[in-house]
Symmetry: C2
Subunit: 317 residues, 2 copies
């Protein structure tokens, strides 16, 4: 059995993967260097090889993504219906939640504006600030990342409200949990709105012009999910017209953002280039390898895998 791994794994992490399938032939490549033949002959692939090179081979038992997002892999024709798809939900939750939390707090304290002043050697004053301790934080998308984000905010005193697709059950460390259908009623209450929605048909454009109009003019909007959840023209208008205090985005649509896009230039928009996840926090890769090793073992043993993705919704089943 051939297993293709396209992650920048350490020797220790290789051992961890190989121990999960004794006797299997492990190939280590970069995502770009893996050949079409290597891809088509592998029974298991660990890591995001380009989706357009997988070609729905029946040979593939498990496609283990290193991403939480699954959009490119659930499209018809990418994977054979018999292939199991698993994502790395959970691996990124710490890194992404912390990054968006840092962006939100930085915007409350006008830190991007002070960095701009520093570049100009200006000892100036950017005015009023707000406090996470006084904020009501609305988290849209209460998966691992959103839940972690809410807990960070609560850890420094915020009131936290979560919005989920289904099951508005209580979540530890989150003050209120509601369903997506209540979103419009919740937006006017929030000082910080943070989206961690994946890119699915149901989430596209959910942050519409009408919804930005429901937010407080003093609110901060954060996006750590997918860029296409946002009507970007509406967001730019709201930021320029004082109908929204600030926004922090780690994701845009498209990515990379074109160099002439207005988002680069809005002083009250803080943009980071989809780096909140990745392997920037070393712990993230450890977590991905752990998920992959367990799933390799599950496939070898004919057991159900973890983090299995539903092709219909793009979410974990």
């Amino acid at each position: 059995m051939q297993i293709l791994v396209v992650l920048p794994v350490t020797e220790l992490q290789k051992k961890q993967l190989e121990n999960a399938a004794p006797g299997a032939a492990f190939l280590y490549r970069s995502p770009k260097d893996a050949t079409a033949e290597e891809i088509s002959q592998s029974r298991i692939i660990v890591g995001n090889v380009p989706a357009d090179r997988i070609r729905a081979s029946e040979n593939l038992l498990l496609m283990q993504l290193n991403s939480a997002g699954t959009d490119a892999y659930i499209r018809p024709g990418v994977l054979h219906p018999s292939t199991k798809l698993a994502n790395a939900t959970g691996a990124y939750s710490k890194a992404v939640a912390e990054h968006l939390f840092a962006m939100g707090i930085a915007l409350q304290k006008n830190l991007p504006l002070y960095r701009d002043m520093q570049q100009q050697h200006v000892w100036g004053d950017a005015g009023r600030v707000t406090s996470m301790a006084d904020a009501t934080v609305l988290v849209v998308g209460m998966g691992d990342i959103g839940t972690n984000f809410a807990r960070l905010c609560k850890g420094v005193g915020a009131k936290t409200i979560g919005v989920r697709r289904r099951y508005a059950d209580p979540v530890e460390g989150v003050d209120e949990v509601h369903l997506t259908e209540d979103l419009d009623a919740l937006l006017p209450r929030a000082d910080v709105i943070a989206s961690f929605l994946p890119g699915t048909g149901a989430t596209k454009g959910i942050f519409s012009r009408e919804r930005f109009a429901l937010m407080k003019p003093s609110a901060i909007f954060l996006n750590g999910g997918r860029g296409n959840a946002v009507d970007q023209d509406a967001l730019a208008d709201a930021l320029q017209n004082g109908r929204l205090f600030a926004a922090g985005l780690d994701v845009t649509d498209p990515e990379p953002l074109p160099a002439d896009h207005i988002f680069w230039t809005l002083p009250n928009l803080f943009l980071t280039p989809h780096i909140s996840g990745g392997f920037h926090l070393p712990e993230t890769l450890d977590r991905i390898v752990a998920i992959a090793a367990r799933n390799i073992m599950h496939v070898v043993n004919g057991e159900p895998i973890e983090n299995e993705v539903d092709f219909e919704t793009g979410y974990r089943k």
Copy 2:
């Protein structure tokens, strides 16, 4: 009895002060507009009038500062020995602690570098990040601000160590408390070092070249106290030579920082222009007015005041 107030108080805040001394004549001025005569004829001054215009009048019963720092007012010849001096310790603790916490988290996530990239329209990658949840945070100066800062860090998972001048008693929300004499042994353990030391003779230059050399090369240094606690040349050298990961400063020596100072230009130094306190967080002025009103009442009633400053140390007695 004439009471001079040089704070930007609201009508409600005026009422609060005036209720503390019925019958007194309240003058409201800006610090710049208060005349020498108005200053010399006041029995109580609320707010930081320029120290060089007070001239040690015996007439002055109480000088109620709106700052936590007292340096300019404890110098010989500024206040008469019979004048009581009170600072606004406590009023700024939330604002300053949150600002420095935001700077620290922003530096852990390379946010200043991403803001620089945004200015250049660059979709880039600033590399590895660290996490407050994995950090050991050393807080030097455990007054209200330092204690608040430590609790914010602990709220998102950090291990916190506090250093005090005296009484290394346990502090709620702080994992370990040590005395200043242990500083050199503690510096090598810290991932984040935050100074909230006031400007006194004893704290000048305490962050010396030797002490920066004791810090981890991966450490982040923060200063929310006074700029002269730091050997600024040594800090610049450490940042340029990779012996310190990053620094976040809200205070410098002198202030404003001269436009040609190297601090403006170091990419891994994040500078804000002593704005963490001030009245940027509206709650701060509320707190100052509350302290002032209580102290006016104490003076009127001949009672001991709160937040009284010791002229020898510059600290609250």
